[in-house]
Amino acid sequence: SQNRKITVGALRFTSHSGSFIAFERGYFSDAGLDVELKFFQAAQPMAVAIASGSIDYAVTAVSGGLISLAQKGAVKVIGGALTEEPGIDGQKIIASDVAFKAGVTSPKMLDGKVFGMSTAGSSFHYMGSKIASAEGVSLKFKPLQKVGAIIGALKSGQIDAWSIVPHIAKPLARSGAAHIIGNVSDYLPNYQITTVFTSARNAAEEKAMTRNFLSGFSKGVADYNATMIERTGGEDGVSEMVRLIHKYVYANRPLEKAAPSIINGTMRLNEGAALNVTSIQDQLKWFQSEALVDADITMDTLVDSSYVKTIHA
């Protein structure tokens, strides 16, 4: 009744299901929060919106922009959301049809190839870079800004490879426009893909509210993992969950068409919003080595690890 009003930013991706479930099933209200969901087209403005105080909490990948905003004392990472986990279907490395036919059948063959990314300092850039150094090949990175442009370039064979979440990778592979040639998790086990973050002010001064948010969010995550990965509710549970998520993801497609995409997109979310600090550390180091962010930024500037369990692996 006396619920605190907060705004939570989200993208219409399955990886944001934790927020959707917590919102729909009342876990936020149970935690004393009156949540309003705000939707974004891209992650970058969401980070800026947190910085400007327009929204309170959100989930997004660690990008150069996020680190830069953290450096300006505007945002803090407070938890984890999505992790690559060996054995669980995660992000795919895909090659364009043209490249595949020319012999790029595994990430080993990528030497000298063109790798798509949205912008320098994006998670695509990080993944591609890591894959390349693990395989000892060199990649050319092509910034194309928008996912639509990357898909177009891949379909027409103008870029050779890309890494992307399974619910986009699989349909592309099925349509024959691209081929899956590897899993990101093979190169980046325990990669902390997305994180929960908030403004530095919330992290420092609104500890109670932040804790409440994380507890509501975690319940949503737990439900999601249980239903979609452990299948504790069986097929019925899954289809009920899909119906819930469909309110937010692929909402303008009929449920029958949306359901496979939603199911395809299933990845394990971090239970209890646990945060893999080692992965974050690695990402930060990589950004610094690429001179995308200042070299003197420390983990403390970026992460407030006082809220959730941290993983060091």
Binding site: P45, A49, S52, K146, G148, K155
Partner: protein, 269 residues
């Protein structure tokens, strides 16, 4: 004068005038559209044009109908029109006001004209991250972006129009002892009106173009948001449906301004 004698050397004067005066053929414009669309339909139907390059016009049309029938059309149009109206009105009003001030006061002109010239070539999309900080992610930032984009061309057109007001009319008013206020209100403003309106034409076209950029800033509904989503999914049917909507909107707005011009400027020859 005997006609018999003269017929041999009497010649009609040859016609050598005419031309260089456009004649209207309305149906041709329509025919060109119909032809282009049919070509696209044919090409996509028989696979001559790959589905990656162009959507089937019929599919775009179906998407349109679907949008209309599901009521989504209104849901997308309403916020976009509001943003256009508020942002455009804001930008145009401030632009006209500043333009008139520049036209009237030498000091303001000296101070602001270089500033406007420097702001003009800045692409608004480059400033998107800043707009989020400055104006938040709600409607305010969308209004601000559109207003900002319409502001500069309006200013330039307006002070140009004020400069072009017939100085003889102003001298006349002074010679009859009209007050400064009267001169501005009764001579300069109506005299600058044609230039201001034709400037608005351009400003509003720019406002429509900026709609897409504005709706990059966390909009769920709106034609721009619709196009962006379609683009990120590489859904060409929807992309084209959105683009056609913007195009229609532009043609419509331009017609509206044409009507206003005909009415407000009916004193023009």
């Amino acid at each position: 004068m005997s006609d018999v004698e003269e017929t041999e050397i009497a010649r009609q004067v040859a016609f050598r005038g005419g031309g260089f005066a456009p004649k209207p053929y309305r149906w041709i414009g329509l025919a060109v559209f119909v032809m282009l669309i049919s070509l696209a339909e044919l090409g996509t139907q028989n696979g001559f044009i790959s589905p990656l390059t162009l959507p089937k016009p019929s599919d775009v049309f179906l998407k349109f109908r679907e949008l209309y029938e599901t009521g989504l059309l209104r849901k997308h149009l309403e916020p976009s029109l509001t943003r256009l109206a508020v942002g455009g009105a804001l930008g145009a009003t401030i632009g006209i006001a500043v333009g008139v001030l520049i036209g009237l006061f030498s000091y303001i002109r000296a101070g602001l004209v270089p500033l406007v010239a420097a702001i003009f070539p800045i692409p608004k999309i480059a400033l998107l991250p800043l707009f989020v900080i400055w104006f938040g992610i709600d409607e305010a930032s969308k209004y601000a972006l559109i207003a900002f984009g319409t502001f500069t061309p309006t200013v330039v057109a307006t002070y140009g129009a004020v400069d072009n007001v017939d100085r003889n009319l102003i001298r006349m008013a002074q010679s009859f002892g009209l007050s400064w206020k009267s001169i501005v209100r009764k001579i300069i403003l109506p005299g600058a009106m044609p230039g201001i309106l034709s400037g608005l034409r351009i400003s509003l076209a720019i406002a429509i173009i900026l709609l897409v950029a504005a709706e990059m800033l966390g909009a769920e509904y709106g034609i721009g948001a619709y196009i962006l989503e379609a683009g990120s999914l590489y859904d060409l049917d929807r992309l084209f449906a959105g683009v056609v909507m913007l195009s229609l909107l532009g043609v419509l707005l331009s017609a509206v301004i044409g009507g206003i011009e005909r009415y407000v400027l009916r004193w023009r020859t």
